[in-house]
Every structure is written in C-alpha cells, then in structure tokens.
C-alpha cells in the first residue's frame, strides 16, 4: 500500500500529545520518500514511550501515520519482545535463562525473583515498578550469568544479588549497572530507542571491551591460533540492489 503525502497532516482518531506527533514526523522524515514504513520500529518505541506499552491506540497511531493496516503493524509489534502489549513496569528485569547463563545460575535467579516478586514471566508487580521476564540470549556469555534492567547489564549476578537489585528498584533507588549507561525508566528508554538521544552526559556510555570479552582473543594470540587464510582487510561486498 502506498503512503499518500496527506497522511501526516491527517487527524488520527487517537489522542497523542502534540510532542509525540512532532516526534513521529521527525522519525518518518529520517527515511527516504516511499520507504516511510521503515519508520515502524522507532514509531512503536515512541508510542510505548507515551503509554508504557503498545496499546490498540498506539497500533492505530502507527498504522495511520504510515499508511499501513493495523494488521501489518500488529504483526511487527507482536514479533519483537521489546514491545510490551500490556502495561509494563518502570523497570524491566530480564534474566537470561539460555544455556550458559542458565547453568551458571540464571535459572535459579529467575525462580528466586519469581518467588520474591510474586510475578511470573512477562508479568508486572502490583506496585507497577517491575516487570519480570526470562530472556533469550542477552549476548553476554562472557559475563554469565547476567541479567539486565531496562537492557543495561548486571554481570555475574547470582540470585542473592538479583534480589538486592530489585529491592533497590522497588525502594526507588537506581542501582548502577556494571557496564553501559545509567538506568532510566522504561518510557524514557523507549524514547531513546525511538531515536531521541538522552540529553544527560552519562546517558550514553561506551567503553573499551572488558577483560572477560577479550579473554578468548588473548588466549588465541598467546597460542598463535588464527582462522586459516583470513585477511582482516577483506572488503565487505555491498548487497545487490533490492528488486522492486
């Protein structure tokens, strides 16, 4: 379905703040004309930022702005677990229960938190502070077992530390992640994920790779192990232009 240019000015039937509408226009303008539907993922983060989850109103908002059907938006929104379909807490606690983290303590951590918080997977505590989930691989086996709070890492976390972290969160404190940026509540984070950077200087943090990450590389170096015939300067071939 094509997007007609008039859509942006169209009054949607849903009440979203004028600021959100302005931001939506800004997001859509980042993409080439005719490819507006690429803006769907950031737009979904944007509506999640306003309502704490992707609500039916948010689906309709995205659909109207992008000239998509609501079914198309829902197909995307229900595929990615980062989009919450029910009101979520300010703090999303994700415990990795994949193989590495699971055997190193992740499974026990998840069970402990479940008992401690009294909620199961993808459920939110009655006070609305914490949403618990067991996560698929969080890409941090080198720091296993890990959990994340609003996608920031707490490394080598066992059940007892995890309880401490959620207790602090419920008390209104902000524990400091082991790597990355400082914590901010889920709506604020969603706005960042929509492509509006955190203005705080410490909002975005980056650093050199940690020692556990480099351990393998150092071992390989020490023992002279390398991929046969691999040239690090191999140019990356551009993908063939998509056909219409």
């Amino acid at each position: 379905m094509s997007v007609s240019q008039g859509e942006l000015s169209k009054q949607t039937s849903i009440e979203f703040s004028e600021q959100t509408r302005d931001r939506a226009r800004e997001i859509i303008a980042r993409y080439p004309a005719g490819r507006e539907r690429s803006a769907l993922l950031p737009l979904l983060h944007l509506v999640q930022a306003e309502y704490g989850h992707v609500s039916p109103a948010g689906i309709e908002f995205c659909a109207e702005l992008l000239g998509l059907t609501r079914a198309q938006v829902a197909g995307v929104a229900s595929f990615y677990t980062m989009f919450k379909r029910r009101p979520a807490g300010d703090w999303l606690v994700s415990v990795c229960t994949n193989t590495m983290c699971g055997v190193l303590g992740g499974d026990r951590t998840f069970e402990t938190l479940r008992e401690h918080l009294g909620v199961g997977h993808d459920e939110t505590t009655p006070d609305g502070t914490i949403t618990l989930e067991h996560a698929e691989c969080l890409a941090a086996c080198d720091y296993a077992p890990v959990l994340t709070v609003n996608y920031e890492f707490f490394d080598r976390v066992q059940a007892e530390q995890a309880v401490e972290i959620v207790d602090q969160l419920q008390e209104g404190k902000r524990p400091v992640p082991d790597r990355g940026a400082r914590l901010c509540p889920l709506p604020e984070l969603s706005l960042q994920l929509a492509g509006f950077a955190d203005p705080r200087p410490e909002g975005i943090a980056d650093g050199p790779a940690g020692e556990p990450t480099l351990a393998g590389a150092r071992l390989a170096q020490r023992h002279g192990i390398a991929v046969a015939g691999f040239d690090p300067e191999t140019p990356i071939k551009p993908k063939e232009e998509d056909s219409r």
């Binding site: 609500s55 059907t69 198309q72």
Partner: protein, 832 residues
Amino acid sequence: MTALDTPTDEVTLTIDGVEVTAPKGALIIRVAEKLGIEIPRFCDHPLLAPVGACRQCLVDVEGQRKPITSCTTPIADGMVVRTHLTSEVARKAQQGIMEFLLINHPLDCPVCDKGGECPLQNQAMSTGAAESRFQDVKRTYPKPINLSTQVLLDRERCVQCARCTRFSEEIAGDPFIELMDRTSDEQVNVYREEMFGGEPGPAGSHSDLGSEPLRSYFSGNTIQICPVGALTSAQYRFRSRPFDLVSTPSVCEHCAAGCAQRTDHRRGKVMRRLAGDDPAVNEEWDCDKGRFGFRYVTAFDRITEPMVRDPQTGALRAAAWSEALAVAAEGLRRARDSSGGVGVLTGGRLTVEDAYAYSKFARIALRTNDVDFRARPLSTEEADFLAAAVAGRQGPTYAEVEQASAVVLAGLEPEEECPILFLRMRKAYRKRALAVHALAPFRTTGYEKLGATVLPCAPGSEATLLAGDASLAAALSQPGAVLVVGERLGGAPGGLSAAVALAERTGARLAWVPRRAGERGALEAGCLPHLLPGGRPVTEPRARAELAGAWGLEAGVLDSRPGRDTGAILAAATAGDLGALVVAGVDPADLSDARAAEQALDAVPFLVSLELRNSAVARRADVVLPVAPTVEKAGSFLTWEGRLRPFEAVLATGAMTDARILDALASQLGVQLNTRDVPAVRAELAALPATDSPRHPPPQVAPAPPPVPADGQAVLATWHQLVDLGTLQDGDDELAGTARPSVVRLGKELATRLGVGDGDPVTVGTGTGALTLPVEVVDMVDAVVWLPTNSPGATVRRSLGAAAGALVSVSVSVSVPVSASVFVSVSPGGSR
C-alpha cells in the same frame, strides 16, 4: 541435453544427473518441475514472490554445506543439484522438515475439509516418515476462528507458509491478515485489539471478526491456495469430501472478466466453485463474488414450471408448456400485427447463443428492431459507440493491458466492476510500475492499490477531460497505451465520442468494459435496435442482404429502420404505443428510473417473461416461461476483450435455454428459428459470413456543460460495489458479510458547508425519494456526492430514480439514528 539452444542469458546445470539449460534467474524448483521432478513444497507458489518459509523443498547442492531451499535459490551455471530422488541428504532433510511441520499439526484429516486434496496430507505420505518422534502434547487452539464471515481458520492446522498473507498483500493489496506473534505461538490472524490489551468482545458477537475487518474481494483465493486445511470456507465447510465431488470446468456468469472456474457438485447440487487455471484470463485467481455467489440458482423463488395469467382470477397459475407457448405466441402475434408491435428486452446476462436467439427471434418472428440488451442507464451515443468501436473488434487483451505503457480508466472502477482486470493491472503496477490514470471523482482504495494518478472529475465532465487534458493525451500517445472505458462512461454526454476521438488521435487501443457477463455477447449477437448480428448496421442494405442470405430470408423481411432502445420501448409501453414486451433477465430496479420502468411493465398490454426466479417482471407477466440458469446449460460468454468463453452444462436438468424456448415460440408463430440446441446455434454463428458492409460511424456528440448544483445540491456519482444486493448474490450470507459498508462519500468543502464529519447521517434526495447514510469525508471533487448504486440502504435507482450525473439534494439528518433513518425501504428484489 534437454534444452535446444543456449543464448547468453541462459545457464546450464545438472539436476539429478540430467543436464538442463534454463533462463538465468530461474528458481531450482521451477526448472526441476520442467524436468518432471516434483520437489515437495508448501509456501512456494509460482504467482507469489519466493519466501522460503516452510523449508520443505530442501535439496542438496554440490559445494553447499547444508541443504538449501530450491524455491528461493536461483540456478547458476555448472550447479549440481540433487533432489530427494538421488540424494540421501535431501531426502533426510525433507523428511526432517516434514516431521517438524507435523509436530503441532492435529492430523485430523478424517474431519478436515482438505482431506483428500491436501498437499500436506499427500506430501506427508510421499515425503514424511511413518512415525513421529514427538512425544509431547500438541499445541491446540479454539477452533475455528473467523477471519471474515466467509474465511475460517483452524490455527493448529497451519504450517505458517504465509501463502495467504502474501497473497493478500502482493496480489490483492489487502494486507488485513498477517502472521502475528512469534515462535510456537506464531499464527495467521486479523488484527484483534485484545492482543494488545484491548477488551475482547463477547464470544459469538461481531467482534469475532476482529478489530479490523478482512475487507477484500479476493479472500476466497487464500482458501484455495492454503496447502493445508487451515483456511476453510464457511460456505463449504463440512459439506462434502473432495472424492465425492464431480468437477466440471465452467465460466463465471457474474461479470465481463470471463474467469475460468471449476464447479464442484455432488448429487445434482453445486457445493463450491474454485478458480480455474487460465493464464490468459484469470491466471489462478477468482473474486469472491464469482467464487461464492452461486446459491441464487437454488433460491426459494426459482420458477420451475410455465405460468399463464388466468383471465378469471387475474392471477398467475401453473400451465403446461404447450398451453403457455400457445398463449404467448397468440399474444405476441396479435401485438406484432397491431400498430404497436413488440419490444424485446434481453438484459445483460445471456449467453452468446441465447442472445443470438433473441436477436433472430425479434427480427424474424416479431419483425422488429425494437430489441435492446441494456438494462441500465444508456444513451444513443453509447449505442453508436458500441456499433462503431466495439462490435466485431478483438482486444485489447488482458496480456496487452498488463504489458501496456500506460492505462487510462474512464467510467470504470475496476476493483468493483471488473475485479480480475483489476488484479491484472495491479500485477503490472507491482512488477513493472504500470502508469495508471483514472478519471474519477475521488481516489478509491482500488485506484490506490493500482498506484493510479486520479484526475479529479465530476460525473458528466469526463468528455471535457478526455478531449482536452494534455496529460491523458501524452500518456496515451506512448506506443502500447490502452484507454479503458467502462459502461458508465456512456452516462456522460460526449464521453464515448471523446474517447473514440482520443484513441484515434493518440493511437491508443480502446477497450470497453461492461459490468455484466452477457453484454459483450449480446452486442455481437445484435441485441441492439440499430445493429444486426456481427456488428451489421440495420440501415446498410449490404448488411441486411448478408444476413438475409445466411438466414434464408426473402428480401424485405429484415426491417431497415432502426428500432427503439430500452428507454424508448418502455416509454412507448407507458404511453400505450406498444403491443407487447418480451423480457429476459431484466430487473426494473437496474434501470435509471426503476419506478417508471415498473409502470411501463404494468401498462404494456401483453408481457412475456423468460425468467429464472419470481422477479418484478415475472410477477407482472401474462406468460412466464422458466429458463435454465448458467449452471444448467451450455453456452458461451464474451469477455470484455471479445474473447469467446464456451462452457458446457455442469448439471444435467430438464431446464431449457432461452434459445430453445424461443425456437418453440417461433415455430408457433410459423417461423423456423433453428436455435433449438446450443451446438446448432454455435454452428450457425460460425457459418455467418464475415461482413463487408460499412461500419456504423462513430458518435460525435459534443460534451454537454456539466450540471451546476444550486445551494444544497450536489452532482450524484454512483457505481455498483462488487458485493451488493445483486440478485445473483441472493442466499450467500457469508459473501454478503464481506460487503463494504454503505456510506455516502463527499468532499471536505461540502462536509464543512454541511457541518458534518465521518459517521454523521447525511440525506441525499431527489423528487422520487431520499436515502440517509453515514458520511465518509474523502478528497472529493467539490459539490459531488457518491453513493453505492445497489447496496443495503443505498438502492439509488429505486429510491432516487437517478443515475450518475443527476443533481441531488444533500442535507444533514438531525437526531435520527442512522440505522432507523433509511426510510425508503430496501428492495428485496435487488437487481442484476
């Protein structure tokens, strides 16, 4: 080596040890098919883009670490492919995939509609292992759910091949079903708010259909291409088993698209219809009206025996054929020999053979040229246009439209009025960015799906635009451009004249697309007051002589004076200047003024109705003769292209064709018609000599100044929605449930003047009556108001007695709930 030669854009590869040369870019699965190697598959469909969703078609390719999907992999030079036939790796991979696909499949083939014709069932037998290693509990769902009133989904049977969702987006342009959720919860569904925390509606309520309706005229195709039993038809569910059905090739009787179909019947009853595979016409698709609209034949009011009006009681009573034919012949003889004569209205739904019989019957047995097939708004200009520019001409074809450099649409909304042409144009738009221009009062969803450039055009202004718009002329001047005019352009004074002139000036090909299946055939058969069969003008001595020769007539039998058209015939009847009328499939509610037409039918002294069901004409007739519906007779339709679509009877019943009845009637009048059986008519049509009489000259009607609406008035724009109150859709409730809602559409300026917004009730009226419907504000030419012609609550012809281009009053309805405000009752008869 299998192929004959190797041009540069071909590659040579080996499949199962056979060297084959094929065009570069072809997919392995397609090339294997050509060698007769059938690789199992579910998601692959030749008319859909490759996706590799089901993984069933894995093959072993030399040099690849793992088996690859043959439905997504293009061939390469020197490629060595081994399928399951020669490779243990491929065989085992396919068997493994099948085992995965069946993990959550219920294996409920004995109670599944698809059992017996199911690719999953068949390929599980050919490719799968006899036993599964899966020990756990299968995932189950409540079953079935409605995707629409006519498409049902049993989610646990689905293998997530995405054929249905891809069809909806790519082919139909209606992406209202999508794969929702992920991993083992992944399922096809419409959008439902409860998936996002919304309140679910009560079970059994309308909200079962979801929060965003599957609004598509093509959704039935998803049922047909579903390779498992996940999508089933509400109309057909649990009604038959495939192996109990008798399948007969057939041709759709609904519109001028001429789709090939397969009609499946059991014990003399049609159970379902499927799209036939005809690459030249409908490819493998069908619209929902053609697929589901066939229950009118078995409606309660089907006429099964002849009836005559009893002189004593004044009521119709059953009669023997001999009596009914005698009474009809006597009445027609008297009228013919009186000063008024007999008029013949044939309607637009006859086969070529039947239309020819009417044409011949009128000319020889009734000695009149008062015959007209047009049961809709019409004009003399249109008749001249048809005679000059359409009759006897071939093409352009579907393929030529698909390959066109540009297509201009005037008086035609193809999605509503010729859905298969719409699909072909959409294919061209998607594959090669076909430039489509449309003259229309607003941009419909159909035009949107064609990426059409809409030239805003109030009804009645088409001629001016066709004559003067530079962009149209430029588009049509490219070689291979096509100007497609719908039958509605005939309602715009000067429109068809301008279209002929424009086509001539630019060199573009000209196509005329009527709405009904029988219109083009009736035109060729000479069911027009000034045209004999084969496009022969009645006024041309040579034309009459050719036909008199073919029919074995003496000179002078064929009248040289043009007859009266539908409007004039009915006017003569009302005025008492007509002795009798013979009416075939005509519904007065289709004529521009339905009430006036009914008055004419009441006024005519003698009325013979050849009818299928107890219609508004049959109820008024002096003699009613029951005719065979399409499914019970052989015949042919002509598509809008002029392509002949012959078909044989699906069901053998005693019902007679119109042609056969007319033959009997003619012999009572002492005339040999020779239209007793279809082969005889076909032979006679084939033996008609090609005409070398001069063609009818094209019309040269100047554009009329468009009507100027006064304050509180607007110009009426209207056309039929595909799924509406048409009598050929009677009894198909599941189909009716997918109709687009009846709304009145108007532009922002008019909405502002009226002070209305979306959903507010607005009343559109004429001197005849008024209609009140919820409003939908669109980008519309100012002072134009659009209504569906014959939808629930919007029976324009009957309630307003008006056609497109008429001036109507527009006002706001206050404090009346919309549902109760349709004070003009909906005609139960509907129209054809």
